[in-house]
């Protein structure tokens, strides 16, 4: 992984060799300044001040001053060059994060965008600055030492090399401590990120002490990691002492010998200036900058890359599913249901020239190799123009079925076909449109939103026609027409669903899959929207039902309930399927007619013997209504629990 990041980093720089060259070019000015730090001082002393020629001395210092100004200009340009590296990196990471977020629907991508990418940008720029600065300063100092007197280099060079060597060797263990610290820090943030939104539940459970203990473990672990990091930091101090401080002592110790071999007083002062004013600070920055920012950058980049590349398929699918289903996402079983498609298949055989709008053959789907299948050996055939409602308890796999038909997940075995075209496949993809429960509406014009599924802008007349059919027209007018910019947050969930439905209506795909796409609409609006889809000439409609009304309107119903899965018309299923009766029963006590539902003699309650524990159940209110006493034996009141 680390290798991957390093290699990519090198490639990134290689692709931008012009910028790197420019960066180097402007940095040379800094080398010049460093060079003159010692050289001008030495010359100024030897040829100027010590020789009594003040003018010469000042002239040399003037040259150094000029070099400072030139280098300052170089610094300005260096920032430009760093920008030309850091900004493309940021652009690239943003693109990656956004494309991953869009593809996987991962909410974590948002923090990736606003935080991790920014950390990567800043640390990368910092690293470039620090390492470049060290290289060019060191070159300036080394050249300066050599030109003052080669022997000076002999004294300063070895400890500098030793310090750098030690630093290089310790870089990796230091980076590991840094990574451990970052990991501990993140674990703590995750923990607190779970605890703070869960305070209500923790208090309710009385688990404050236990949770505090668990959090303390994370805090302690983070502290230990920070302590270890601090102790390992001593290695940096040693590198610095070796590379930057030892040369000072050595220069002094060797001074008599150096002076004997022709090193002038000015040169000695210059050499000391190189060590204390150039090498020591540059090494200090390198040792502290590379150690922390380097590993920070690698960790952040690894995170951004890993999430981008490893699209662990099952994980993604599972997440998609969990989000897709309102009631429940996962692992509901469905037993073999061979007879399910019998009727449809018969129709299919009657009209062989006209392939079915949708056919599923022995389709089995499970989330993992070991998991119990969600859909098990399902056969289903729908002729063009059919209107199917899919009902069943939440979590049973209704949305999974929709996803299978849409080709968003692939069955473990069996085939799905749309008009004879295999799913997934490009032909099949053009034949269907899926409207999930969570409507996608983005900040933009209404026309942009409605035309999302079309390659070219939709003519206004067609737009208005679709809006009229689905029931969006009043909202469209209220918003200010198709060209109005809309703010999704200002719309209600139902309004967003209307927009998504109209968009799907405009897509021209013959098969529409409404996966609880109308759950936030009221019953009348839902009926109107469903009718609009059902009435499209040749249009096939599959509705994962949110209300039982959807099943009543459909000409056939698939009841998914594991071993009790059944298929037929509303009336047939009322006779045949207990689950369906349950569902209808559960749905029916719509407040419009509770008495009827409660007294329905045909109703078979899913729960056997629902006798209410009613001896003397009374509730006394002391409120404005006065006292309402309700002591009675509920068992004798009957009907509520379904005992009739």
């Amino acid at each position: 992984m680390t290798e991957g990041v390093h290699r990519r980093g090198l490639r990134f720089l290689r692709d931008r060799w012009r910028v790197v060259l420019r960066l180097g070019g402007w940095s040379v000015l800094e080398t010049g300044q460093t060079f003159l730090t010692g050289f001008a001082l030495a010359r100024g002393l030897d040829a100027g001040f010590l020789a009594g020629r003040i003018g010469t001395g000042l002239a040399w210092l003037g040259v150094a001053g000029l070099a400072v100004l030139v280098a300052a200009y170089g610094t300005v340009r260096v920032y430009d060059a760093v920008a030309a590296l850091a900004e493309p990196l940021r652009d690239r990471l943003v693109t990656r994060v956004v494309s991953r977020g869009v593809r996987e629907g991962d909410a974590g991508s948002l923090s990736g965008l606003t935080q991790q990418v920014e950390i990567a940008r800043d640390t990368f720029a910092g690293l470039v600055m620090v390492s470049r600065s060290f290289v060019f300063t060191a070159v300036g100092a080394v050249v300066g030492l050599a030109s003052l007197h080669p022997l000076l280099l002999l004294v300063v060079g070895p400890p500098l090399a030793a310090g750098l060597g030690l630093f290089t060797v310790t870089l990796r263990p230091l980076a590991r401590r840094q990574e451990a610290f970052l990991a501990a820090d993140e674990a703590l943030a995750d923990r607190l990120g779970a605890v703070c939104p869960g305070l209500r539940d923790i208090t309710a459970a009385g688990a404050e002490e236990r949770v505090a203990a668990g959090t303390r473990t994370c805090v302690d672990a983070e502290q230990r990691a920070a302590d270890a990091l601090a102790r390992w930091g001593v290695l940096r101090v040693v590198s610095l002492a070796l590379g930057g401080r030892l040369p000072i002592v050595l220069l002094l110790a060797c001074a008599p010998w150096l002076l004997d071999h022709g090193v002038t007083a000015g040169a000695l002062v210059g050499a000391l200036a190189y060590v204390t004013q150039s090498l020591l600070p540059a090494l200090h920055n390198l040792v502290h900058g590379l150690g922390t920012s380097g590993s920070r950058l690698v960790v952040v980049l690894q995170r951004l890359m890993r999430e981008a590349t490893c699209g662990a398929e099952a994980e993604t699918v599972a997440r998609t599913e969990a989000e897709a289903e309102t009631g429940a996402g996962g692992w509901a079983g469905a037993k073999p249901q061979r007879e399910a498609g019998a009727e449809g298949r018969a129709e299919d055989e009657r009209e062989p020239s006209n392939p079915p709008a949708l056919s599923l053959t022995s389709v089995t789907f499970a989330y993992g190799p070991c998991a119990t299948p969600v859909i098990d050996d399902l056969d289903l055939t729908l002729p063009p123009g059919a209107h199917l409602a899919v009902v069943g308890p939440s979590g049973i796999g209704k949305s999974t079925l929709a996803a299978l038909v849409a080709g968003m997940v692939e069955p473990r075995s069996g085939t799905v076909r749309l008009r004879g075209h295999p799913v997934p496949g490009p032909e099949a993809a053009a034949l269907r449109v899926l409207i999930p429960q969570e409507a996608y509406v983005f900040t933009g014009t209404l026309a942009e939103n409605l035309g999302l599924l079309r390659q070219t802008p939709v003519p206004e007349a067609e737009l208005l026609g679709a809006a009229e059919a689905v029931g969006l027209l009043p909202l469209l007018e209220a918003l200010g027409g198709p060209t109005a910019t809309i703010d999704p947050a200002a719309l209600s969930a139902g309004e967003r669903q209307l927009i998504a439905l109209t968009r799907a209506y405009l897509s021209r795909a013959p098969l529409a899959l409404l996966d609880e796409a109308t759950c936030h609409l009221d019953a009348r609006a839902e009926q109107r929207a469903e009718r609009a889809f059902a009435d499209r000439p040749g249009g096939t409609l599959v509705v994962v039902a949110h209300r039982i009304g959807s099943a009543r309107r459909a000409d056939r119903v698939l009841v998914m309930d594991g071993p009790h899965t059944a298929y037929g018309t509303h009336d047939e299923l009322l006779r045949r399927s207990p689950t369906y009766r349950d569902l209808v029963g559960g749905w029916t006590p719509a407040p419009s007619q509770p008495a009827l539902a409660l007294r329905d003699p045909d109703r078979v309650d899913a729960v056997a013997g629902t006798g209410l524990a009613g001896d003397g159940g009374h509730v006394v209110a002391h409120g404005p209504v006065g006292q309402v006493q309700a002591p009675r034996d509920l068992r004798h009141r009957g009907s509520l629990g379904g005992e009739g």
Binding site: L199, L259, E325, M408, D522, T610, L612, H622
Partner: protein, 563 residues
């Protein structure tokens, strides 16, 4: 909490000895750093005059070694002290936040709380080291100038004359950047906004195969972001260009004056070397400025932590619960939120062992009633009693053991499924967890998870209904004589809901008192009685079918007929 109002830490922090040691070490290091140039200069002079200098070379070596040692000590002390203070703050705050409970999340928002506990605590944790290092940071520049003045007053004069220029130019840095930072953040915000919309709609995008197009659309502000970013670098570069020139120029000025004095034999070569070093130290004001800015940040962060600590934690009483059926009484309960009385003099009695459904339009105060009934929120007036004992007189353990809660959106804390269900004072047995899970109709889907009950909830894809069932299982495993379900069945399909309600109301699984906040008529119909809340008051209490005759009561359920 009296300790909450006290200062968070003294000036020396929770580890005063270490802080003092750090202060000592860093000041000593600065002192040694100030000593070194003088020693270097003197040694150099001795060497240049060929006088015996071994002792002075050794002195210099000693100072350099001392510097390295002090540096090492400082590194370790600095790092560990920061870690210690931060951890201390976090432990303290976590404890307090947990003691305050849901109020803390309501007051600050969970995200902000996390930010305070993570980010602000880390910043505030640097306060002791910042203070400890302040003396050293101050001693460096001041010592440098004093040393220059001691060598020759002219040298100090040159530096001091140039200092105002330095200060002006350093200030320019702070002024310029703000505007382009704002532009940058705006462009970034637009991308983030569009991305968050797309994340929510990713299923539509995926089904439509429109990922590329949507990515491109979301990235439309990217060039703008890039441009703002480039501008930021440019502004920073200009500021840096100015500031990097100032210090070396000041140093050169000092050296030039020193050179002239050298030529006039008023200074030695060694003193020129020392002067150039002291000039560097004297221009280290930037370090001091940075240190002060860091301290200011740490103080602001500490202030934000103080705000959290100032939020009082509810106290608990001394009493236990007598044996009883779980009779719940609310007497004149009034609770205000934002100046409005959400509950307005509510009187209710739920006899032990019965089920009361609370219904009402949204905003009628149902959830607050549920919270007050289980002491997750305090009433502003009135009293809640359980089996005759006011809730506030109960000990923490007695109260929490007696009352179980389930919520519309249970918060899962990131443990395994088993741990999540077993979240309570003391963890229930595995058998009890499974039994509760079965009652909540969660056992089925849990057993289909890759590792069953040992699956971490973060790895288990969950929908609202599944989370809700885990929350219900948690409440059932918790038990207690009063069970409060705050809309905890809303995401279940009607069949599952009916089964769970029936099991509950039947008393088979739970023999205590039940308080159900309900949206569905079917749930209300199964309860022994219904309390109809309207505008924070109890409008009526009675059986569902009795109340059904009132059109306004029926209107409460309008739009609730969906599955």
């Amino acid at each position: 909490m009296t300790e909450a109002t006290r200062t968070l830490t003294g000036p020396l922090g929770p580890a005063p000895v270490r802080t003092l040691a750090l202060c000592l070490v860093s000041t000593a290091a600065t002192g040694a750093g100030l000593l070194l140039p003088a020693a270097l200069g003197h040694t150099l002079d001795l060497l240049l005059t060929r006088a015996p200098a071994t002792r002075w070379v050794l002195y210099c070596a000693g100072i350099v070694l001392l510097l390295a040692l002090l540096d090492a000590c400082e590194t370790v002390l600095h790092g560990t002290l920061d870690a210690r203070t931060t951890a201390w703050l976090r432990r303290r705050l976590t404890r307090h936040v947990l003691a305050v409970g849901p109020r803390a999340a309501a007051r600050f928002g969970p995200g902000d709380l996390v930010a305070r506990l993570v980010g602000n605590a880390a910043q505030a944790g640097t306060a002791p080291t910042g203070r400890a290092a302040l003396l050293a940071a101050l001693a460096g520049p001041v010592g440098g100038i004093v040393a220059l003045a001691l060598i020759d007053p002219w040298l100090a004069a040159v530096l001091l004359a140039g200092a105002p220029v330095l200060a002006l130019l350093l200030r320019a840095l702070a002024r310029d950047t703000r505007d382009c930072v704002a532009r940058y953040q705006k462009a970034q915000g637009r991308i983030a906004q569009a991305l968050s919309e797309a994340v929510r709609g990713h299923r539509t995008i995926e089904a439509a195969g429109a990922a590329d197009r949507e990515t491109a659309r979301i990235l439309r502000p990217l060039p703008e972001l890039s441009e703002a970013g480039h501008r930021m670098w440019r502004v920073q570069g200009r500021a840096a260009g100015r500031s990097v020139a100032v210090a070396p120029l000041l140093q050169l000025g000092v050296v030039a004056v020193a050179g002239v004095l050298l030529a006039r034999h008023r200074l030695t070569v060694g003193e020129v070397l020392a002067a150039s070093r002291y000039a560097v130290l004297a221009t280290g004001v930037g370090v001091l400025v940075g240190q002060l800015a860091g301290l200011a940040r740490a103080r602001a962060a500490t202030e934000r932590l103080h705000e959290v600590l100032a939020e009082p934690a509810p106290g608990y009483g001394e009493r236990g619960l007598p044996p009883g059926p779980g009779r719940l009484e609310l007497r004149g309960v009034t609770a205000r939120r934002g100046g409005r009385a959400v509950l307005d003099g509510v009187d209710l009695v739920v006899p032990g062992g019965t089920t009361l459904a609370v219904v009402g339009r949204s905003g009628a105060g149902k959830s607050l009633l549920a919270a007050v009934a289980g002491r997750l929120a305090e009433p502003d007036a009135g009293e809640v009693r359980l089996d005759g004992v006011p809730l506030r007189d109960l000990t923490h353990d007695a109260l929490r053991r007696a009352v179980g809660h389930a919520f519309e959106r249970p918060a899962l804390l990131g443990g395994t499924v088993e741990e999540e269900i077993g979240l309570a004072l003391s963890s229930p047995s595995p058998a009890r967890v499974r039994e509760a899970s079965r009652t909540a109709h969660a056992d089925d889907f849990v057993r289909r998870l890759p590792q069953g009950y040992a699956t971490p909830v973060s790895a288990a894809p969950r929908s609202g209904g599944e989370s809700q069932r885990l929350g219900l299982a948690r409440a059932f495993a918790h038990g207690g004589r009063l069970l409060i379900l705050d809309d905890a069945l809303s995401s279940l399909d009607t069949v599952t809901e009916a089964r769970i309600t029936a099991a509950l109301v039947n008393g088979g699984r739970h023999d205590g008192t039940r308080l159900l906040i309900a949206h569905r008529a079917t749930t209300a119909a199964r309860a022994d009685a219904v309390a109809w809340l309207d505008g924070g008051r109890v409008r009526a209490v009675g059986r569902h079918e009795e109340l059904w005759g009132i059109p306004e009561y029926r209107a409460v359920f309008a739009g609730e007929e969906r599955a």
